[in-house]
């Protein structure tokens, strides 16, 4: 229970860093969840983030699992509300004034400028994530095969995720 305010603070703050998607915020999430608050280990955070990839809908709902592991169902609710509501309100407000911003010359500058920054932040987040996720030749192989198949084919990626789960179940027990 006493962790609820901290959960709300951490996830409301992290949500503001999700430019272009959740991966941008991952390095900061790791610092806060693993190093500062010690809610999860780095490996556990990687597991929870990966579970998010299996979920339908917004895969950053993984914040609810972090909340659950810290403080039960109430923790899940607090984490989800803190993560999704503030940015939601911002989007609602900007959506309403967007057309009026059409004549504001900086609108295009912001869009053009933030595009590559968002991609860079996502790649940086992925590198941070990959350091815990890629632990040997087998995980590297699974990652590379998934990458090639997702780029080259139109198969729904959820099958690769499930394939990874099966491989893990048989070959990655410790």
């Amino acid at each position: 229970m006493d962790q609820l305010p901290a959960l709300a603070r951490v996830f409301a703050y992290l949500s503001l860093l999700t430019i272009g998607g959740g991966m941008a915020a991952f390095p900061e999430m790791k610092v806060l969840i693993v190093d500062v608050h010690r809610w999860l280990t780095a490996e556990q955070l990687t597991h929870v983030y990966s579970t998010g990839q299996m979920s339908p809908g917004p895969n950053m709902m993984m914040v609810a699992e972090v909340g659950y592991l810290v403080s039960g169902v109430l923790g899940a609710l607090v984490a989800a509300v803190a993560f999704f509501v503030p940015t939601g309100i911002l989007t609602f407000a900007v959506g309403r004034i967007w057309e009026r911003l059409a004549n504001w010359p900086w609108r295009d500058s912001i869009q053009k400028g933030l595009g590559p920054v968002a991609i860079g932040l996502a790649v940086a987040g992925l590198i941070t994530f990959g350091k815990t996720a890629i632990t040997g030749w087998l995980t590297l192989l699974v990652g590379v095969i998934t990458f090639v198949l997702v780029v080259r084919t139109k198969i729904n990626p959820v099958f690769f995720i499930l394939g990874g789960a099966v491989i893990g179940l048989f070959a990655l027990r410790q």
Binding site: L16, L17, T18, I19, G20, M23, P27, H47, S50, T51, Q53, P56, G57, P58, M61, M62, A64, E65, Y68, L69, F84, G88, L90, T91, G95, R96, W98, E99, P105, W106, S109, Q111, G113, L114, G115, P116, V117, A118, I119, A124, L126, A133, I134, T139, V142, I145, T146, F147, V148, V150, P157, F160, G164, A165, V166, I167, G168, L169, L172, Q174
Partner: protein
């Protein structure tokens, strides 16, 4: 519909009003079935192709707003679409529908994960999932990068963000603010947009 609403309305909002309940149900279905990431593709299929609530131009505009703002594409799109269809009630309904299935899924996953006897097996499976997730996320951003990155400066900003986080350890907020500010300034508005490009071209041509 009040005049104020009509005046502020985008083309979509001037269509026959959609009830917040129908919006909620539509997004609930998308929120429960959009496996494998790429929610935007599911959204286009439902909102543009099936329901015909938006045309492709409106949809693309909402995608570009979503991308520029913090927050996930899935939820940002839900809010923008819901608002255009039925105001704040529509936005709330769309957001709730989009989030509810994932919330139940992830909370249930937390319950399973915290069962100590299930943890060794769950951890083994999740090691494989994490490895596949690296490939999937890398592929997603590779495709976005191939489509949207143009020119030398874009490459510099991508590299600067990566180095800021992974090498210089500036942290996400500082990196975002610093590289973001430089990038936006680089693409700052020109007083006469066509002229500088033409001048530059002339200047380059004069060198030959």
């Amino acid at each position: 519909m009040s005049t104020a609403q009509t005046a502020a309305a985008s083309p979509a909002a001037s269509k026959t009003a959609v009830s917040p309940l129908e919006i909620f149900v539509t997004f609930l279905i998308i929120g429960a079935t959009s496996f494998g990431g790429g929610v935007v593709a599911y959204l286009r299929d439902a909102l543009v192709a099936k329901k015909k609530w938006f045309d492709d131009v409106e949809f693309l505009e909402m995608t570009s707003i979503s991308n520029t703002l913090p927050g996930l594409n899935a939820t940002n799109m839900a809010i923008l679409a819901g608002d255009r269809l039925a105001g704040w009630l529509g936005a709330t309904g769309a957001m709730l529908g989009m989030c509810l299935p994932a919330f139940i899924f992830m909370t249930a996953a937390g319950m399973i994960y915290s069962e100590s006897h299930a943890r060794p097996l769950a951890s083994a499976a999740l090691r494989g999932v994490a490895a596949a997730a690296v490939g999937l996320i890398a592929a997603t951003w590779f495709k976005i990068g191939k489509k949207s990155l143009r020119g030398f400066y874009d490459a510099v900003f991508v590299m600067a963000a990566i180095l800021g986080i992974n090498y210089f350890k500036w942290g996400v907020p500082i990196t975002l603010l610093a590289v973001g500010a430089v990038a936006i300034f680089t693409y700052r508005p020109h007083k006469a947009p066509e002229q500088p490009a033409q001048e530059q071209e002339d200047w380059i041509n004069s060198l030959h």
